[in-house]
């Protein structure tokens, strides 16, 4: 089991191999389909994501007094169309999602991005790892807006390390 804390560099991520279990703490950014599409259409990015981790997730609204609603990962394959460009445009070094990726995405991630999977369908359990959640851009997208999350010991599994190895079903 690896324990990681942001900010992270590619050097920190280098030892991670397919199948490794990780507990992640620190800052991550939740964004999914609509935010990807909009970000790619903009000349200037609304936030600096260099060296950051993005999480494919759209939460349920938090109940009053709670930090976060349910917040498990959504299907990564839907982002496949955007991912190679998003990596180039933003400089992210890690992605958290659910399920297999297309071949060209796996190739685009090699050496640049570690792909983690989070426990899918376990949004209540994952909500317990969220310490802070703030909507940082695209509020009009509702559940598809970009959220900055502070997480503590978020359980992840390495699907593909920087070596580009590791296929998942």
């Amino acid at each position: 089991m690896f324990k990681l804390k942001t900010p992270l560099t590619l050097r920190d991520l280098k030892p991670l191999k397919h199948g490794d279990e990780v507990l992640l703490s620190g800052t991550i950014y939740a964004m999914r389909d609509a935010a990807h599409k909009r970000m790619l259409s903009e000349k200037k990015l609304p936030l600096d994501l260099r060296g950051q981790i993005i999480y494919y997730m759209g939460p349920t609204p938090a109940r009053p007094g709670k930090v976060s609603g349910s917040c498990g990962p959504t299907t990564s394959a839907r982002m496949d169309k955007y991912t190679p460009q998003i990596i180039e445009k933003t400089g992210i070094i890690s992605i958290i999602g659910k399920g297999a990726r297309a071949g060209q995405v796996r190739a685009a991630m090699k050496g640049k991005v570690v792909y983690f999977i989070a426990y899918s369908g376990l949004g209540a359990l994952i909500a317990k790892c969220i310490r802070k959640s703030v909507m940082v851009c695209y509020p009009d997208l509702g559940a598809e807006a970009v959220y900055k999350l502070e997480v503590e010991n978020l359980p992840l599994i390495v699907a593909q390390g920087l070596d580009g190895k590791g296929e998942i079903k």
Partner: protein, 279 residues
């Protein structure tokens, strides 16, 4: 003729949406527990986390899954029941109130192709009406997420198709879904009727109780065989391998055109959120 106030329909649908989002159905809880006992290593650990997730969801009122889905409602109306008002409006209002008051995610967009603008209250739901004997209203509410729905498939086979062809189609659907549909799955299969009819049969099949056996022996045998074959794919919980790729296979069937053999495979995730109530 019994009279039913539509306000009661609204209140009931509202509560059903909220309960379905937070409480793992009893049959699913039993099935996941049983599967966890048969797994080892990470697969066993993940299934135990599913049970832990269900505990947290119910106790702390955090939805089981962030995708609280499209609300799918089956309404079976007794012929001797008079609903004093607009039942569709009453159900829609129940969904609106349930998703707002229950802090569920609003996932419906107004137009599929152009604006894709969120309707902000998760309406409209998908409603299927049927008539039945008696003077009751039977409501089934399913919260159907995108991950399991997107990987569901329909195929219009020719009548010359063999049982094996149909089994292969179901297996291919599950294999292509992989971990995207959140296994271990409930696999609902509709065979017969027509293009839209087989999809509806498959959806209805997902509401069957885990552990129930098909009344028709031939279909019961097909369900058992398919469950074995699906589990032999070893996709496992979270797609990380293991014996449990599906918890159950349910088949619903109906007569069809002599030229057709429609088959639909509708996938349900490891929470398979559904709830039934009779008014």
């Amino acid at each position: 003729m019994r009279k039913l106030n539509p306000g009661l329909v609204t209140k009931t649908v509202r509560e059903m949406c909220i309960t379905a989002a937070h409480k793992l159905p009893c049959d699913m809880l039993r099935a996941v527990k049983k599967a966890a006992a048969g797994e080892r290593g990470i697969s066993a650990r993940i299934l135990k986390l599913c049970l832990e997730n269900a505990k947290i969801a119910e106790k702390e009122m955090i939805p089981l899954c962030q995708d609280t889905g499209v609300a799918v409602i089956f309404a079976e109306i007794g012929r001797d029941l008079f609903i004093d008002g607009d039942i569709t409006a009453a159900i829609e209002e129940g969904v609106r109130q349930g998703y707002r008051q229950g802090y569920l995610r609003k996932s419906i967009v107004s137009d599929p192709l152009f604006e894709r603008k969120n309707t902000r209250d998760n309406t409209p739901p998908v409603i299927h009406y049927a008539f039945a004997k008696g003077n009751k209203l039977k409501l089934t509410v399913m919260l159907k997420g995108g991950g399991s729905e997107n990987n569901s498939r329909i195929n219009m086979f020719a009548p010359s198709a063999t049982l094996e062809d149909i089994e292969d189609f179901a297996l291919k659907t599950v294999a292509e879904a992989g971990s995207k549909s959140c296994p271990p799955l409930i696999v609902g299969i509709g065979i017969g009727s027509n293009f839209e009819g087989c999809a509806l049969l498959a959806k209805k099949a997902l509401a069957r109780e885990v552990g129930s056996v098909n009344k028709d022996k031939r279909y019961a045998a097909l369900e058992r065989r398919l469950l074995q074959k699906i589990n032999a794919l070893k996709i496992g919980p979270q797609g990380l391998g293991g014996k449990t790729t599906a918890l159950a296979v349910f088949i619903e069937f109906a007569p069809c055109h002599m030229a057709s053999l429609p088959v639909a495979v509708n996938l349900g995730c490891h929470s398979n959120r559904h709830i039934v109530k009779v008014l």
